[in-house]
């Protein structure tokens, strides 16, 4: 790698709090690392675990979810669901030895522009240290018949 390693981070920001905070950071001319690519969703509850896996699969070095503080959610409980899914997903990622720092969930309210800046810079710095995420190439997905054949060999 000729120049310095630049990690790619996918961030899922909820429209009402974290996305607005990011906007506020922008308005307030706060500098934070460009590595983050933001996907706006209506609520952190919309973040499907598959999106996280898809992001890592498609080359993301880190994933960040940003939601409203508990109790602040525009839809009342969306962030609580996100928190549950986050804790359920963590062990799965560890199975795939994806380091802990690469996947974070942060509560950022609309006025915490500075927090967006802090979290992003911190995450980028940590992941840069960790280096790129190299997942072994997964074999192409077996067709149904190949799976059945394998089953028989074991059974015999």
């Amino acid at each position: 790698m000729s120049e310095q390693f630049e990690p790619k981070i996918v961030a899922f920001f909820c429209n009402w709090c974290t996305y607005t905070a990011a906007d506020l950071a922008g308005i307030s001319r706060m500098k934070y690392a460009p590595n983050v690519r933001v996907v706006r969703l209506m609520c952190s509850g919309r973040v499907d675990p598959q999106f996280i896996l898809a992001a890592f699969r498609d080359g993301a070095d880190g994933v960040l979810i940003g939601g409203c503080h508990p109790g602040d959610c525009h839809y009342q409980e969306g962030n609580y669901k996100a928190l549950r899914r986050f804790h359920l997903l963590k062990p799965v990622l560890e199975e795939m030895n994806i380091e802990d720092e690469r996947f974070r969930l942060e509560w950022i309210s609309a006025s915490e522009g500075d927090k967006v800046q802090k979290v992003i810079n911190e995450m980028v710095e940590q992941i840069t240290k960790l280096g790129p995420l190299d997942l072994e190439p997964i074999s192409t997905p077996e067709t149904l018949d190949e799976m059945l054949e394998k089953e028989q060999e074991i059974a015999v």
């Binding site: 690519r37 973040v47 499907d48 525009h74």
Partner: protein, 586 residues
């Protein structure tokens, strides 16, 4: 009906009426001292004695308690009555020389000074028993009573010890004709109706002249009836019988389309800054209390008076109390400078006192504000640029004796100055209401870091909030003065009317929906929806989303195992593609 003659004039009255009441109906004035229409007659002072002729012959009787009888002939001013009244008044004057009401009453009976010996020149109490009866019959607590006999008779509490039964309602002080009972509370308990506190002076008041609705209301905290179930005088005297003690606060549920939050602000609690001495030093008041003083319908009728009732000769006004201060509120409360100038002007105009303003930056941001400031400078107002350090009553030399001394560093002169003044007005800043947090959660809107309600967008939607249909107006959204508040209120109302007038509600474009054929009826999504927009169709054994209720958060979509549930504008495919897209560039 009973018929009798008073001073020769015939009159017919109900049976059971007293001679005093009958005389009053005829307009004959009979002096009384121990009588009060709301209390049982006690007939102790004997000043209301009249001469009554009936079949038993002439007799002197007290009119306050004697019931009229048929054929009675009453003389309210015969010479026997006059003589009796003169001697009795002289006796009372001898007993209580300091009771002006007695000497005045004696004067208009041609009695100069008393022919009798008096022992204690300061004595005011004439033992009329009004206070004892008021305490028993009105306040219902009987905390005080008579003790001892003859000349040693006194009004006191049992064993002369402070009586816990006393609820400091002040009825005794209120009804005492000679001012022998005053209302100070040596035990530091809250005195409900102390004259000089700026609290309400009665349990039933119109809060202030311009109150809407402009009708008296009962303050159940202060009203004796709610404490001891006694009194009830207001109901007694209210002719239209409009008073109903059983009314309770009612909670009404109102279905509305839009809500406009205008919950206003609270002034900064000046006692939090100990060194300004608010609540400890006399004559240190907040700007709001100054407003009450200068208000014509306030306790002092508009005169600016100090606690001892005299007019201040010099006044210090301290700006930014609790604002632009790292220990309290960082923000500037925007309005204090202008109202402090108004106070300074009013103070100078009403009392002619020397006025000193302690400011950091004189902020006169409105139309005509700067010109007003210029005018005040010409009127000779003293301006000291420097935040006031403290206010104390510690005098370093004679002319500071008995005064409040404001210590401040005058940054223009570059020296610390000590200004002795009679009265200090603290220009307290504005703060969100203490219950802002609770209101915010109830209406599902968010707050800025310093607690003011957060508008949807500072420029694009300043009067609406993240929740559709909830709008903001006034200083609950941030400190502002009256012109700005009025303007903003107009805007907020316009927004609300626009929504109402439209007649329809724009739904969120990004609501969720379910592909019936994909849905396996596993019902995972149903409990997830806080707005209960998802219902289960029994016969089709599938879930269904009511688009009008769905707010479009997408939580159900993320949870749907079979991907049957999707969200307009945020379908899974779209997001997967978006993820690929964001990762495609370097």
């Amino acid at each position: 009906m009973i018929s009798l003659k008073i001073n020769g004039k015939p009159i017919q009255v109900e049976s059971g009426t007293t001679i005093l009441q009958a005389a009053k109906q005829l307009g004959f004035e009979i002096p009384t001292l121990c009588y009060h229409p709301q209390l049982e007659p006690y007939a102790a002072c004997r000043v209301c004695t009249v001469e009554v002729k009936n079949e038993k012959g002439n007799k002197l009787m007290t009119s306050c308690n004697s019931i009229v009888e048929d054929g009675m002939e009453v003389q309210t001013d015969s010479d026997a009555v006059a003589q009796a009244r003169k001697i009795n008044l002289q006796l009372l004057m001898a007993q209580a020389p300091a009771a002006e009401i007695v000497s005045e009453m004696a004067a208009n009976y041609g009695v100069g000074d008393t022919a009798f010996l008096s022992e204690n020149a300061e004595e005011k109490c004439i033992l009329c028993g009004l206070c004892v009866r008021a305490c028993e019959q009105v306040a219902g607590t009987s905390a005080i009573g008579f003790a001892n006999r003859g000349k040693d008779r006194v009004v006191t509490t049992p064993f002369d010890v402070q009586n816990e039964a006393c609820i400091t309602c002040g009825s005794c002080a209120f009804v005492c004709p000679t001012g022998a009972i005053t209302m100070d509370d040596p035990f530091g308990r809250e005195v409900i109706h102390d004259e000089m506190t700026l609290g309400p002076d009665k349990a039933i008041t119109v809060p202030f002249m311009q109150a809407v609705p402009n009708a008296p209301a009962i303050d159940t905290e202060a009203c004796i009836h709610f404490k001891t179930d006694a009194c009830g005088l207001c109901a007694e005297v209210c002719e239209p019988e409009a008073i109903d003690y059983s009314q309770k606060d009612e909670i009404e549920e109102v279905e509305v389309g839009t809500i406009l939050l205008a919950t206003g602000f609270k002034t900064f609690d000046a006692s939090r800054i100990a060194k300004y001495g608010y609540g400890k030093l006399p004559n240190v008041i907040t700007s709001l209390e100054f407003e009450k003083l200068s208000n014509a319908s306030g306790p002092t009728g508009g005169d600016i008076l100090m606690q001892d009732g005299s007019v201040p000769k010099s006044v210090g006004i301290i700006h930014c109390v609790g604002s632009r201060d790292d220990n309290y509120n960082k923000y500037c409360s925007k309005v204090c400078c202008m109202y402090s100038l108004k106070i300074a002007h009013l103070m100078a105009e009403k009392t002619g006192a020397e006025v000193y303003n302690f400011y950091i930056d004189m902020r006169t941001p409105g139309k005509g504000y700067e010109e007003f400031y210029e005018r005040l400078l010409e009127e000779g107002m003293h301006l000291i640029r420097g935040r006031a350090a403290d206010v104390s009553d510690w005098a370093m030399n004679e002319d500071e004796e008995g005064k409040l001394v404001i210590r401040a560093e005058d940054t223009l002169v570059g020296a610390v100055r000590r200004i002795p003044v009679d009265m200090v007005v603290l220009a307290v800043g504005l703060e969100p209401q203490p219950d802002a947090e609770e209101i915010r959660r109830k209406f599902n809107i968010s707050c800025s870091s310093d607690g003011w309600f957060l508008e949807r967008h500072p420029k694009l939607a300043p009067v609406s909030t993240f929740t559709d249909g909830v709008f903001l107006a006034g200083s609950c959204q941030g400190p502002k003065d009256i012109p700005e508040t009025v303007a903003q209120s107009g805007a907020a109302v316009a927004e609300a009317l626009a929504l109402i007038d439209r007649g329809y509600v724009e739904l969120e474009p990004n609501t969720a929906f379910i592909y019936e054929e994909e849905c396996s009826g596993c019902k995972t999504c149903i409990p997830l929806c806080p707005f209960s927009a998802i219902s289960f169709v029994e016969d089709k054994n599938v879930s269904e989303i009511n688009e009008a209720l769905c707010k479009g958060c997408g939580t159900c979509v993320a949870a749907c195992p079979s991907g049957a549930a999707q969200q307009h504008l945020f379908t899974d495919e779209q997001i997967f593609e978006e993820i690929k897209g964001v990762l495609s560039y370097v």
